[in-house]
Homo-oligomer: 201 residues x 2
């Protein structure tokens, strides 16, 4: 039997996904809410952990990385449910060692295939995410630019960002200009919108 841990931030959708897997004779499914302390999920031993990686209430980057770290050290394969068109989110999941990638717009059959492959230690990529994965390799921003952008997206002023990152106001302004140019945006707000849409921040 494959032990599946299904993590979703919303109870109704979590129950629904669990209902899709209930008829599979080779799976034993437990569904749990997303916890901001992924260490707690680790004690729930599983072969495969299925997690919805975005949407309001979903784990943020730090939470996702922490979850992956715990699951990997517990020899549990991670399968992420991904929204198409958000290469940045896929990239983070890939960097965090996720093995399986299933499109949220897929059929239940794909989810089953993904779970069985990941349980066997194999990588599984839903082919409808291939284009996003290719784009995910072309991350336009540097790690430092991403830090600046993340703080700006949370409403921090140039002064606050400069203070947080121990850099001068001028340097932060230069980073913001580079970010705006590289994302093909019209201004800072547009750069944040584009980057959030792609899942980079």
């Amino acid at each position: 039997m494959i032990q599946v841990l299904l993590v979703h931030h919303f109870g109704l959708l979590r129950s629904g996904l669990a209902a899709l897997l209930n008829d599979a004779p080779d799976l034993e499914v437990r569904d749990v809410p997303w916890s901001s302390d992924p260490g707690r999920l680790r004690v729930l031993r599983a072969d495969v952990c299925v997690v919805d990686m975005d949407g309001p209430g979903a784990p943020d980057t730090a939470g996702m990385t922490e979850l992956c770290r715990h699951m990997t050290s517990a020899k549990c394969g991670l399968l992420v449910l991904a929204t198409p068109g958000r290469p940045g989110a896929l990239r983070r999941a890939y960097d965090a060692q996720a093995l399986g990638f299933v499109n949220k717009d897929a059929t239940p059959q794909k989810l089953l295939e993904g779970i069985r492959n990941v349980a066997a230690g194999k990588r599984y990529v839903d082919e409808s995410l291939a284009h996003d994965l290719l784009r995910a390799a072309d991350m336009p921003l540097t790690a430092r630019e991403l830090s600046v952008l993340s703080l700006a997206a949370r409403g921090a002023t140039v002064s606050e960002i400069a203070g947080r990152l121990h850099l001068s106001h001028g340097t932060i302004r230069n980073y913001m200009s580079a970010i705006t140019r590289k994302t093909g945006a019209r201004n800072r707000i547009d750069a944040i919108r584009i980057s959030q849409g792609a899942g980079w921040v």
Copy 2:
């Protein structure tokens, strides 16, 4: 039999929600993807239309209003699945004549109760959304301020917003200052972040 039309932008989550309703002997469920032309959904006669109102890929404000208009004229009650903490989205659904409000974090039982109430022409509000509904009554921004904010959130410059709304640059700047003050934000980007979080835009 209650005819239920289940609308969700993601196939996997749509199938999951449908699976939750499959065992109910009094429901006949069809699940369809969200269509940017809600008139197409109208031809699918139903007593209750269940729609997930937010998350990436969900209907935007215009789409939601259009869907509600079509469903109401087809004598189909609308039940929305709502993310807690987004009073603005609830307000739009309420203004668009939605009858049922179920928290996405609810149990499947609540969804069933909601569907049966709406099918009987009754309003149904999941009590866990009560606080958000109260907040939804206190919309801090005027319709004009919302227009300015929506354009700004999509990356439009002050000039572009002024051009679109046939107003002067100074007036747009005044609106942006009022929006920043009323939302308790630190700056424009922060005002957009707060308003998007609450579902106002």
